[in-house]
């Protein structure tokens, strides 16, 4: 029996494997570590869907409108339409798999406020929603592992795509224990997560999302979309080796941001400047305002998050796990004292370029989840990543299933192979590259800082193929940001502070042997004759 190869066993990979299994199609679930270790388990605040359980007459149309507006109209409206229309079915399904969502007094799924949304639309399980969804999905996938329909390859690493005549025919993987490699036949779904490894120690993500899959695919001719779009989450704290997320739920439940003025008064700067949504403006806006207010001459110190006015019930039933985490890392009880927070790299809206059906430019290669650029445009709304991962993995699998033709499958044979991509990038190379990328791709960018970063990156010495590929990926992010001469969402250019309709387009990056070519592609028009594919 033929199989489809899935790279990554987080939420998107599991969703893809499950979708294929339910269609009777076999898959291989290939991952560096077990699903329990994936970044999806870190997601805290919740998952968006217009379930309308809070008596606010919420609709999928409003979810669509908020997502498009939050992404500053850079997302594919037809893809977002599918996402938001199917969101209630996604969440309801997860509840049926035993996810312990918080409940209303009428036993509906409780929903809370999240940034960039005027209605309570974020379903949640305290502040551990990602972990709860993952546990349920891991169990459901296990049902098909036992029958052999899903084969797990934990502790295996993507090495390269196998192609024939421009078409993806399989994937080469390495067993990280034995070092042996095998070539696997079949279509490939990339579900390999964001590019955190391009910024080691500087993101809220995991060390396992190294960016090598995206860098490798990019080198093999896969196009990237909006590589310059990366999200700084407003509320993170520094812990050894990384940034630790303080969930947006902290503000969704009533937490307030302020900074001390030189005069000794508190300035609740978000509430003062944005009276309607206040602390719950989209993340790009909040992060930028924090940056500017800290830089302002009449303030001092860090931006503080004040949760001291939250009611006892909220701490007990909605944020108990978040409170424990803050006490552990900061030694401060957020119930009693405000805590200092800082922006931190949290999510990559850009990545592998896919169409509405999650096809890449290489036939036979699909992508879902954070590794691909879909749904979130120039800025992702909180609560849309878990949704995008499940729905994106499912859609990629549906598309792959439609193109699937069963054929005898060769049993993988693991042997010693010579391949220049087996040699890993040096840790100190990745660190030096990260310093350069951080200089160019901050919250506030400019022609000068980006040009300087491009020059510095191009001057780096390379020891192997993976370093070459990582450098090319870094350059795509930098040059994409350089070429986008406007400000939109997470991409803020001090020298071009306004959005420009000329740039309401997808940045498309191509890697031509290490040389980066950037072009801009029109956003598709929204169709009016959609069929619901729930």
């Amino acid at each position: 029996m033929g199989r489809i190869n899935i790279i990554g066993a987080g939420l998107s990979g599991l969703s893809a494997a499950l979708t294929l299994a339910e269609a009777g199609i076999g898959s291989r679930l290939i991952s560096l570590q077990r699903s329990e270790r994936s970044q999806s388990v870190l997601a805290e605040g919740g998952i968006n869907a217009a379930l309308d359980t809070m008596g606010e007459n919420d609709t999928a149309a409003e979810h669509f409108a908020d997502t498009m507006k939050g992404g500053v109209y850079l997302a594919d409206p037809n893809a977002v339409d599918g996402l938001t229309r199917n969101a209630p079915a996604v969440v309801t399904r997860m509840a049926q798999l035993g996810v312990p969502f918080n409940r209303t007094s009428q036993n509906g799924i409780m929903q809370r406020s999240f940034g960039g949304q005027k209605k309570k639309r974020t379903a949640y399980a305290k502040s551990s929603t990602g972990k709860m969804l993952m546990t349920a999905l891991i169990d459901e996938v296990r049902r098909y592992e036992v029958t052999g329909l899903i084969q797990r390859y934990p502790h295996h690493e993507f090495i390269r795509l196998l192609t024939d005549g421009g078409r993806c025919t399989g994937v080469r993987i390495r067993d990280t224990g034995t070092g042996l490699c095998a070539d696997l036949d079949g279509a490939v779904i990339a579900a390999s997560g964001g590019m955190n490894g391009m910024f080691p120690g500087r993101t809220t993500g995991t060390t396992m999302n190294g960016g090598d899959v995206t860098a490798g695919l990019f080198a093999q001719g896969v196009l990237l979309g909006n590589p310059e779009m990366m999200q700084y989450h407003p509320t993170t704290i520094g812990i050894p080796g990384k940034r630790c997320l303080i969930s947006e739920a902290a503000r969704g439940e009533g937490g307030r941001l302020y900074i001390m003025k030189n005069s000794g008064e508190r300035s609740y700067f978000m509430e003062e400047k944005y009276p309607e949504l206040g602390n719950l403006m989209p993340r790009d806006v909040v992060a930028r305002e924090m940056f500017f207010v800290r830089r302002s001459g009449d303030t001092e110190g860090e931006v503080m998050l004040d949760m001291t006015a939250l009611p006892e019930d909220t701490w007990k039933n909605r944020l108990s796990d978040l409170r424990e985490e803050i006490i552990r890392y900061l030694g401060t009880d957020p119930k009693k004292s405000p805590i200092p927070v800082h922006e931190g790299i949290h999510y990559f809206m850009g990545g592998i370029d896919v169409n509405e059906r999650h096809c890449t430019n290489i036939p036979g290669l699909y992508a879902g989840g954070e590794c691909c650029s879909q749904y979130h445009g120039a800025n992702r709304l909180g609560g849309n990543s878990l949704l995008g991962a499940i729905y994106g993995g499912k859609t990629a699998a549906q598309t792959a299933a439609a193109a699937f033709t069963d054929c005898p499958d060769r049993e993988p044979i693991f042997t010693e192979m010579t391949d220049p991509l087996l040699e890993e990038a040096r840790a100190d190379f990745s660190e030096r590259l990260a310093v350069i990328l951080s200089g160019g791709l901050g919250i506030v960018r400019s022609e000068k800082t980006l040009t300087d970063a491009v020059s510095a990156a191009k001057a780096m010495d390379l020891a192997n193929e993976r370093e070459k590929n990582r450098l090319a990926l870094g350059l795509a992010m930098l040059i994409g940001a350089l070429e986008r001469r406007e400000s939109r969402g997470a991409h803020y250019r001090e020298d071009y502070p306004e959005a420009s309709e000329d740039y309401r387009k997808t940045t498309v990056a191509q890697n031509c042997g290490g040389e980066i070519r950037i072009s801009f592609r029109d956003i598709p028009e929204r169709r009016t004759d959609r069929e619901d594919n729930a």
Binding site: Q33, R34, E36, R37, S38, Q39, V41, L42, A95, Q96, L97, G98, V99, P100, F101, N102, R103, N107, A125, K126, S128, K131, M132, T135, A136, D139, E140, R142, R143, E145, V146, P154, G177, T206, T207, M208, I239, P240, G241, K242, C244, E324, E325, R328, R426, A427, D428, E431
Partner: protein, 241 residues
């Protein structure tokens, strides 16, 4: 503070283990064992305490914030997550020992093969045979059970668990209680008795060891009630004792 790390190393599963001693200087006091391992591996000039270069240390990590269970190892004699082991807090006389979990086959250095733990979950049929929502009063219990990291710390301290036996330990019992918050059929109860209850010596060594803070006593008491003592209230809910 200067800390000496004594790391049990092994190049391959069959190789003889040896101790590598390397110095690490804490600056803020918040540095963890995971941070020290990351820093040592990132340093191309790394040397042991005798000034001898050494190859990168094999270990597993992912989230670095106690949410994924990847970096479980034995630190100063106690199984814990390396990302949760603050060096200055766990050090004894300025030294910190790092050893692999002993209940699983070693792959290399501090990395072990925890696949037997996942094979046990397959044997336990750890999935919902009939889909359904968590019963409203069991939401908190299902939440607690769903937190299990599958790190293996509870198995490390268990006097009854060894890889290959029919007793699967708390790492299987906790996930089972998630399913029991939705349904409790006879087959599940039988599997629980066979692979958890019958082999458990009730030592409760796993108490207070869980890095995720799962209240293991409570889950075991309730699962035992449902699967062994068959206490149920009307409607089949096993939790009201």
């Amino acid at each position: 503070m200067k800390i000496t790390l004594d790391i049990t190393r092994r190049e391959s599963p069959d190789a003889e283990p040896y101790i590598l001693s390397a110095a690490f200087e804490t600056v803020t006091g918040s540095e963890t064992a995971a941070y020290a391992l990351t820093s040592l591996n990132a340093d191309p000039e790394r040397r042991d305490v005798n000034g001898k270069p050494f190859p990168p240390i094999r270990w597993e990590s992912s989230c670095l914030q106690k949410k994924c269970g990847a970096c479980a190892m034995v630190i100063c004699g106690k199984p814990m997550l390396a990302c949760d082991a603050r060096l200055e807090a766990v050090a004894r006389g300025g030294r910190v020992t790092l050893e692999p979990l002993k209940k699983f086959p070693v792959i290399a250095d501090l990395a072990v093969d925890r696949e037997p733990m996942f094979a046990a979950l397959a044997e336990m049929k750890q999935w919902l045979e009939e889909h359904g929502e968590v019963r409203p009063k069991e939401t908190d219990r299902a939440f607690d059970a769903s937190k299990c990291l599958q790190c293996g710390c509870c198995l490390e301290v268990c006097p009854n668990f060894c890889t290959g036996s029919a007793f699967y330990g708390t790492a299987a019992a906790v996930p089972a209680s998630r399913l029991m918050a939705v349904t409790n059929d006879a087959e599940r109860a039988a599997l629980y008795r066979k692979h958890v209850y019958n082999g458990c010596g009730k030592s409760l060594a796993c108490r207070n060891i869980c890095p995720a803070g799962i209240d293991i006593d409570s889950l075991l008491v309730n699962s035992n009630a449902a699967a062994v003592w068959k206490r149920r209230r009307k409607g089949g809910n096993p939790w009201t004792l």
